[in-house]
Symmetry: C2
Subunit: 398 residues, 2 copies
């Protein structure tokens, strides 16, 4: 049970297999195993329709937040599958626990794929032994490939943090391309570290980091039934946090992993050509800043304008005006790609087409907004909206 990728934190092993759930010629079942019990911080979808693996994972974590393995399948989301969905999910954990010589409660399940379809139990039974045999033979990249649905590339991120007593490794992978497309349900994130850390602190810094990254992005405003982020800390490197400087190092490392994965999800947005960074400052408070940023980042008109490389400040201010955030319209300032385009209730005089033509060509576009109403701020990553998004989502059949 050694790992072949240098970036994977100590004591974790990965495996993948092509079980044939849905996609051809692509691994579709992934396993993460920690050599020693790992503290698991976890965040789950807030959608009222919770998929079976979400329910089972929450149950297992309630019994104990100390976890040994994560099993992820793609193809079937096992959502809206009733009692049979729950018992199928538990059954897969029981088979795997037997093979790994663990308790089923030591393993967390995650599924992504079509809502309403049941897990293909015969394929689990046939392939789980092969998966366990493969343990340690898969790279991080291969594991990230095995959890993709409509994703066009695997999404991983890794970094190291130098603490006062040791070096710690962090590694993460995520999938997601429609944010959050309930058919291909949807955003999953897995983070591994060999840090030794108190469970409560681990949960808190994960939640903060996810709020700044995965929760601060939007592709189409929809959220799925299967979303989860699971973070395992197995303590293998013996490093512990001692003092604020160490804590800052860990928080930065986790932020780097989460924000890099979040960026890659938006970069891979269904049909997307842009990553819009919507930064709102000067709101009454942070929650009003979030309302303003969300209105802009979710506006189909802003998204289509950015796709069309049109410096359409009118759509941005109109979205701000309906966002629910409170401000004086004459105090609002808007910059696009670093150039101020609107202030004092009026567009600035300039030859907009020639100024913005070169600036809006690239993938990354910054939309900076100052509401002039207070100290609140919020930053959101958003995709644009294209014909390709429509095509993907109108042609996809249930």
């Amino acid at each position: 049970m050694v790992n072949i990728s240098a970036e994977i934190p100590a004591g974790f092993s990965l495996a993948t297999v092509h079980a044939g759930f849905k996609y051809k010629n692509r691994p579709d079942l992934a396993l993460i195993v920690s050599q020693s019990p790992a503290r698991c911080a976890a965040l789950f979808t807030t959608n009222l329709f919770q998929a079976a693996p979400v329910t089972v994972a929450m149950d297992n974590l309630k019994k104990s937040p100390v976890i040994r393995a994560i099993l992820v399948n793609t193809g079937q989301a096992n959502a809206c599958t009733g009692d049979m969905g729950i018992s199928n999910c538990r059954k897969t954990l029981e088979i795997l626990a037997d093979l790994l010589n663990m308790d089923p409660e030591d393993i967390l399940p995650a599924s992504t794929g079509v809502i309403g379809d049941h897990l293909k139990m015969d394929l689990f039974e046939k392939n789980l032994p092969r998966l366990v045999q493969n343990l340690g033979s898969s790279t991080g990249e291969e594991a990230a490939k095995a959890i993709m649905t409509t994703d066009t590339f695997p999404k991983t991120s890794s970094c190291r943090a130098q603490l006062s007593n040791s070096m710690v490794k962090f590694w993460g992978m995520a999938k997601g391309a429609g944010m959050i497309c309930p058919n291909m349900a949807t955003m999953l994130g897995f983070i591994l570290t060999d840090l030794r850390i108190d469970h409560k602190l681990w949960q808190k810094i994960l939640a903060d980091s996810v709020n700044r990254s995965f929760n601060a992005l939007t592709i189409d405003g929809d959220t799925s039934t299967n979303d989860c982020v699971l973070a395992l800390a197995n303590g293998q490197c013996k490093a512990e946090i001692s003092g604020d400087e160490d804590l800052n190092q860990v928080v930065s490392a986790l932020d780097k992993i989460c924000s890099e994965l979040a960026y890659k999800i938006v970069m891979d947005a269904e049909g997307g050509t842009k990553v819009l960074r919507v930064e709102v400052k000067g709101a009454k408070d942070n929650s009003q800043a979030k309302m303003a940023a969300s209105a802009v980042g979710n506006s189909p008109l802003v998204k289509t304008a950015m796709y069309g490389q049109d410096p359409n400040w009118g759509r941005i201010v109109a979205a701000l005006g309906r966002s629910g955030a409170q401000f004086n319209p004459s105090k609002v300032r808007v910059s696009l790609a670093g150039v101020e385009i609107f202030s004092s209730g009026r567009p600035l005089e300039m030859d907009r087409d020639s100024v913005f033509e070169p600036l809006l060509k690239g993938r990354d576009v910054d939309i900076q907004i100052h509401l002039g109403a207070g100290p609140g701020s919020y930053t959101l990553l958003a995709s644009d909206l294209t014909e390709k998004y429509i095509e993907i989502n109108a042609r996809y059949r249930t």
Copy 2:
């Protein structure tokens, strides 16, 4: 000053002219004049960025809700135009007031078109005299054409109500195709009646009727800086409301006008091929029903599924689950085009493709949802989302 269309209520005259503001070969300036002072009920955009004509109309109505005329231009929205926008707007009313021998405060302005562009004052000066000369020579259909922007057809509605002492006429026109597209800012509605009615009651029943119609539709979730609905009652037919039966007749007539115009706006949605009627029942209360209906009607994934004629119940329930409405997922029932497709947390067993293929072909699709949580209900009209919407809004240049 007589009117040439039989459906126009007594004492109102219409005029249109091609001033050349933006569109070629299409009238773009419209005038409504009431022979006698009319009580005006009015509703305006809630967007914090208010266009100059909205500010001026609200000012004039504050002085007195008794109005003689409405002047509407298309091409320039006169929004985000600062103090100059306000003074330009007032100037157009002064010129017109001189020509009509009225006070400028007797006239309400409305503008639709590109945000940020100033009114073309030279064209107003040149064409207002011609417009006044034309008074009485335009049909309702022609007036409705003169207020269009990206609309593909003029939107009018008319009806009569038999009150106990007389027959009353109602007529309305509206424009709107992106709901609400801030470039082509955007939804305007004008309603005329020869009823004699108390102003407070008129305002109240208009507000109720608009809540059930114009406020209960969504194309892209965006709202504009120029939206308004103005309703004039000039008392020319001498009919008054006496008793509840008469009031019901008037409310029904106004509902018919507003809902017919609202339907036509959704029918003309930019790139739209469907009119989705999202009916939510069984919510905890009406506001939760509205949250649920809005989440479904605004979901890009539901909209693209309906465009693709795909009975994709998964996207509907996932939108419900994130809507913020509270319910027990196992009690939710969903019908599509009259056929129950989801209940008890599970899709119903059927050959979905063959059942729904004929049902999802037409323009009108009903999505009926019962949340099983209380007496609240809400119905929303929504468009679908197509490649054509993207094309229109990505290619349109500021």
